[in-house]
């Protein structure tokens, strides 16, 4: 019986010849990731279990991104604990503010994760790295502690569900719209426990940024991981970045899928997810008049250079509407510098946006753009649960960077085509 790419990668990290859905396995991990919220608990567990040395100082990655640069004293304490552990264990991939970015943007960019890897991260959006053809999944802090100790993690091999994207993308439609559309279609538990494998002829037209965005939100459909088979684009992307050897896996022709969903992308227009579930999606043409107080462009979902370029193309020679805040957060220092060099910052500043240092910030209601009671925000982030970005009476609408930018200019949720032409 053939295996899917997810099954093959998992299998290659065990001593087994074959793995099949439902099997419980112990797999070697290539990267075990924690951040300033989840690593401190893992470090405590690690010590409690008598841990002396992490299994491999190059494979444990610690990223202060959620509340860093330190938001307050308790954030500072968490970051301090993580830093001290990094120093003590001589962790290679610990990044101090100044070279640090949002974990799921930083790891692919810096070639810390590579195709064929098994990655666990004590953060639910670890599934992002599936875009590179790796198996990556979110876990709890105890899983991280155990992996730091043993270099292994247990998994139930997931069933796979295949999503076949075909057709040409419409103007203004990006990876974000495809994944929002899919979640709208199958629901927040539509892919529960499953591997979501993205295929079809549209894939060749998707940038790495699009693929990262799509895999990032696989968890919002309940999936264990999202994955794209590596292709020429992956090879190009990884060549100059990879810090380690990598391997490309492909699903067998006779691999088994529990479900195959065909999506004709030419029928999809830019999508918006209404509060308070990512699955509450509708096309931009059906949104109506939704006034906003704030727009956020950033996060591990859409804070990459392609996202900032797309936003800048919309914002050029335009201004944010009166009484609306536009917050732009490049996800990593490299993205920050590129945006600066390319002149995007001038466009943003001229538009009266504010540009933040790389951080998760408002995405999880941390800081740098918290909403008051009754305020509405259109955001390129990935969750719009009640109170996600501030007060429980506030509202978050999820969309792509071009929608967020156009909405900031018009003061209501809108697509770029609704903007008045610039003379």
């Amino acid at each position: 019986m053939g295996m899917t790419i997810t099954e093959k990668i998992l299998c290659a990290h065990t001593d087994l010849k074959e793995v099949h859905p439902g099997m419980l396995i112990n797999a070697r991990v290539d990267i075990a990731l924690g951040n300033d919220i989840t690593a401190p608990i893992a470090i405590k567990e690690f010590k409690k279990a008598g841990g002396q040395r992490v299994f491999d100082k190059d494979k444990v990655v610690l990223i202060p991104d959620h509340f860093a640069p330190n938001k307050d004293i308790s954030a500072a304490e968490q970051c301090k604990m993580m830093k001290e552990f990094a120093v003590e264990q001589k962790i290679t991939h610990y990044y101090e503010v100044g070279e640090c970015g949002i974990e799921h943007a930083l790891l692919p960019e810096q070639g810390i994760v590579v195709p064929g890897d098994v990655v666990i991260g004590a953060d639910s959006h670890t599934c992002t790295y599936g875009a590179l053809g790796a198996f990556a999944t979110g876990s709890g802090s105890t899983d991280l502690a155990a992996a730091m100790l043993s270099g292994e993690a247990w998994f139930k091999v997931p069933e796979s569900m295949k999503i076949v994207f075909s057709g040409r993308l419409n103007h203004w439609v990006s990876g974000k719209d495809l994944i929002l559309y899919l979640i709208g279609l199958i629901g927040v538990d539509g892919a529960l426990y499953k591997a979501l494998e993205f295929t079809g002829d549209t894939v060749k037209d998707l940038t790495m940024a699009d693929r990262l965005t799509i895999c990032n939100m696989a968890i919002e459909a309940g999936a264990k991981n999202g994955i794209f088979a590596p292709d020429d684009l992956t090879a190009q992307y990884i060549k100059s970045r990879a810090k380690r050897k990598y391997k490309f896996y492909q699903s067998d022709a006779d691999a088994v899928y529990t479900k195959i969903i065909d999506i004709d992308v030419s029928k999809i227009e830019p999508q918006v997810s209404f509060p308070h579930l990512p699955s509450n999606t509708m096309g931009i043409s059906r949104v109506g008049n939704v006034k906003i107080d704030q727009a956020v462009i950033g996060s591990c979902t859409n804070g990459r250079i392609e996202d900032l370029r797309a936003a800048a193309a919309v914002l050029k020679n335009r201004k944010v509407a009166p009484f609306v805040r536009l917050i732009i957060i490049p996800a990593t220092p490299e993205i920050y510098r590129m945006a600066m060099k390319e002149g995007l910052f001038d466009i943003f500043l001229d538009a009266k946006a504010v540009i933040s240092t790389p951080t998760c910030g408002p995405c999880l209601g941390g800081y740098m753009g918290i909403l008051a009671d009754g305020e509405r925000c259109v955001s390129t982030t990935n969750r719009n649960f009640i109170g996600r970005m501030g007060h429980t009476g506030s509202e978050v609408y999820l969309a792509s960077p071009v929608i967020a930018a156009a909405s900031a200019v018009l003061g209501r949720i809108a697509g770029p085509d609704e903007l008045p032409k610039i003379k």
Binding site: L24, K48, A49, S139, D143, A145, D189, L192, G222
Partner: protein, 164 residues
Amino acid sequence: MMHFKGKIWKFNDNIDTDAIIAARYLNTSDPQVLASHLMEDIAPDFVKKIGAGDIIVAGENFGCGSSREHAPIAIKEAGIACVVAKSYARIFYRNSFNMGLPIFESKDLWDIVDNGAMIEVNGDEGCINILGGRTLPIEPIPPFMQELILDGGLMKHLAKKKKG
């Protein structure tokens, strides 16, 4: 060993980790403090009403939302013996075994059992017995996960393996 008998407390579909333990209590990881706020926002006084060995019976996607481990910790520490849901969010599912909280899946139990009923969950033989009523099959917990639970969670399991 996977044998539990207790009174059941029913919850609906999509009970998220915020409902199980609200984010405002995440500044502590003290199990007893967490347990004292279990289900506070959706079932006030829940902790006062339950007894040791009681069982939570829930609908689909129990434990969805964040990866916080505080949720299974709070349930276990409050004295809940096990959870039987139609399905679980996957990180909650992992975390439960890692914390040593036994959880079972049954698509049918929720629909046929009343709140407050007594049930017997036999994880070894793979069945649930509603006292004075029907017996339903359940998937037995795989041996590896049974080991995790019996050892008191993943870290204790690893420590034991290390000692060999």
